[in-house]
Amino acid sequence: MTAQHAVRANGPGGGPRGPARGVVIEANALTKRYQGSVNALDQLTVVVEPGVTGLVGANGAGKSTLIKILLGLLEPTSGTAAVLGHDSATDGAQIRTLTGYMPEHDCLPPDVTATEFVTHMGRMSGLPPTAAKERAADSLRHVGLYEERYRQIGTYSTGMKQRVKLAQALVGDPRLLLLDEPTNGLDPAGRNQMLDLVARIGAEFGISIVVASHLLGEIEQICDHLVAIDSGRLLRADTISSVTQVSEVLLVEVEEGTELLAAELARRGLATVAQQRGLLIQLAGEQTYDAVRDAIADLGMPLNRMEQRRHRLEELFRDEAVPGALEPAATRTGAADVG
């Protein structure tokens, strides 16, 4: 599902508002050089379209720097950036009105309640007092904080704190959310809940989202588009499906006699790569399935598993990631840490 299909629920008094049209972010030859160090961003040119976009790269690749330049918190050394049609150098206030930002690091005062804090942040987004109160209650409910919101933030778990951080980004009704490592410090369950929440906001709320993460699995799970950067340079920008469907492989597992099967498949002209308990075969269409079926039937082996797999995003960061080249790592699953 992509945000293009998202239908925004309209509340009372709210006129129809479709998903954002046009280009959400446009960076042009963006360069950021910190004093006496290497370039954090190096001639980065990229266009981000509406929907949920993953901004992926190792730690230090320049993700946070890019987000801060887009918000006008940092000045680029050179190059230009536009967010929702506004120039980040001259129109920062307008961008910040339309954008919600969830920083990577802890940013919550421990001695106020979530309600008070998010209400205050709503006021700081330009909402009048009553609207700030209502939207703070709405935002906290959307992120799944109910009775707890009347408790001091200092008593919260990491997962709840991450939700408050998301709620304060949401409170000003932004057109764009910039989320910097939203799953930072969460356990696997909390991670999945946060990802579901982000995906839901992108799909149901009609808000475009840029999620920065060093975890490829997360990006793959929730994003429509992907922007991969490395050392401040653009590595790749594309839709998730086109990135991950570059080539597909078939995993075949049999009870025993894996080598026998490999030999049989080789006889039928299929190259295989042995993996822990199975064989990987380059998928070339229906005939590949037929050949594998026939080979197994001829050998009379019990088939345990046959599964189609995509190449994973992490290959983007491998030199040997040439489409078609079959690497055992191609089927590693789950979130892989590139850092």
Binding site: R8, A9, N10, G11, P12, G13, G14, G15, R17, Y34, S64, T65, K68, L71, L73, L74, A93, Q94, R96, T97, T99, Y101, P103, H105, D106, C107, L108, P109, P110, D111, V112, T115, E116, H120, M121, R123, M124, S125, G126, L127, P128, A131, K133, R135, A137, D138, R141, H142, G144, Y146, E147, Y150, Q168, G172, D173, R200, I201, E204, F205, G206
Partner: protein, 320 residues
């Protein structure tokens, strides 16, 4: 919590939703976008100022946050109350306390405690919890944050310094009779109020500047206390030496050291400024006489350091 928030909380709680199973998760109410008014930079700045002013007195916070502001405020008001009683009971109805100095030593000590305790409340908390990036990611500009904090703390100091003066005034005029007597009191009050504003400006800006260098409350409080106390002690000591070692009694005029020592400390600079501008009540330092303009200049320099320093501080403060 306001009544409306409480009502809403009840309406939105899972059990009140009619699910009845107690685990009901309400995700399906849909997202409501906001089409209403959006306030500009000025209004957001005012909201931040108001929020900060309340926190300077611990309002909407726990009891602990209110202890020091309330106690210091009550102590500063006490002389005015005593004056009101004295004026009422004495036969000639004469005011006991000067408007332009109030009770100098009490005022200095109590304001020092207030500054050390409350300046960190305004600036160190946001540094400590790294909340600043959230402010700077919103429509306001960088400079709006220190300006709002400074305005709020200036107003807080003004309340601390001038409510007692107004009580002093009211306690006195309640007992005097005739329009001219009231007018005399009012004319005496006005310079006191203006000097109070000068105090509030210098103390608030310097207090916030020192506090803004540490996110750790203890350090910020210590820094503010040490800065104001040390400079004041040093100025008092040098004034004392200047008066006693250079025989002011014989010459009839204090030595240059005695007249210049006050330039070290904000409190004595404010006192020198007062005397230069015509204040006659005996204060912390001897009358600077011809060196009066130096106190006027020192006042401006302290103000410039305080306000300029605070703005520069928040230009530099890291969000990267």
């Amino acid at each position: 919590m306001s009544a409306s928030a409480a009502a809403e909380g009840a309406a939105m709680s899972p059990t009140a939703n009619g699910n009845g199973n107690g685990t009901g998760v309400i995700h399906d109410i849909g997202y409501r976008s906001y089409e209403g008014q959006r306030l500009g930079r000025g209004a957001i700045g005012r909201a931040l100022t108001w929020h900060s002013l309340r926190s300077a007195f611990g309002l909407r916070r726990g009891v602990k946050a209110k202890i020091i502001p309330v106690i210091t405020f009550v102590i500063l008001c006490a002389p005015a109350v005593v004056n009101a009683a004295a004026v009422a009971l004495s036969g000639n109805h004469v005011r006991q306390i000067s408007y332009d100095t109030y009770v100098p030593s009490l005022r200095i000590v109590v304001m020092l405690v207030f500054l050390a305790a409350q300046a960190p409340e305004l600036v160190s908390r946001d540094l400590r919890s790294h909340t600043l990036p959230l402010y700077f990611a919103r429509p306001i500009r960088r400079i709006d944050y220190p300006v709002a904090k400074l305005t709020a703390f200036f107003l807080a100091c003004l309340i601390m310094l001038e409510i007692p003066l107004l009580l002093l005034y009211l306690g006195t005029v309640a007992q005097v009779h005739g329009g001219s007597a009231v007018w005399t009191e009012t004319r005496a009050l006005i310079p006191g109020l203006l000097l109070g504003a000068a105090w509030a400006l210098v103390l608030a800006s310097l207090g916030l500047l020192v506090a803004s260098f540490s996110g750790k409350r203890a350090f910020a409080t210590g820094g503010v206390a040490v800065f104001f106390f040390l400079t004041f002690t040093l100025a008092s000591l040098l004034t004392h030496i200047g008066l006693n070692s250079f025989g002011h009694a014989a010459l009839g005029a204090p030595s240059a050291l005695a007249r210049l020592a006050g330039l070290i400390s904000p409190f004595t600079v404010l006192d020198g400024l007062r005397q230069w501008l015509g204040g006659t009540t005996v204060g912390q330092i001897p009358n600077p006489g011809s060196l009066g303009p130096a106190y006027g200049l020192a006042f401006l320099v302290f103000l410039l350091i305080g306000i300029g320093g605070l703005i520069l501080r928040y230009r530099k403060v890291g969000v990267a």
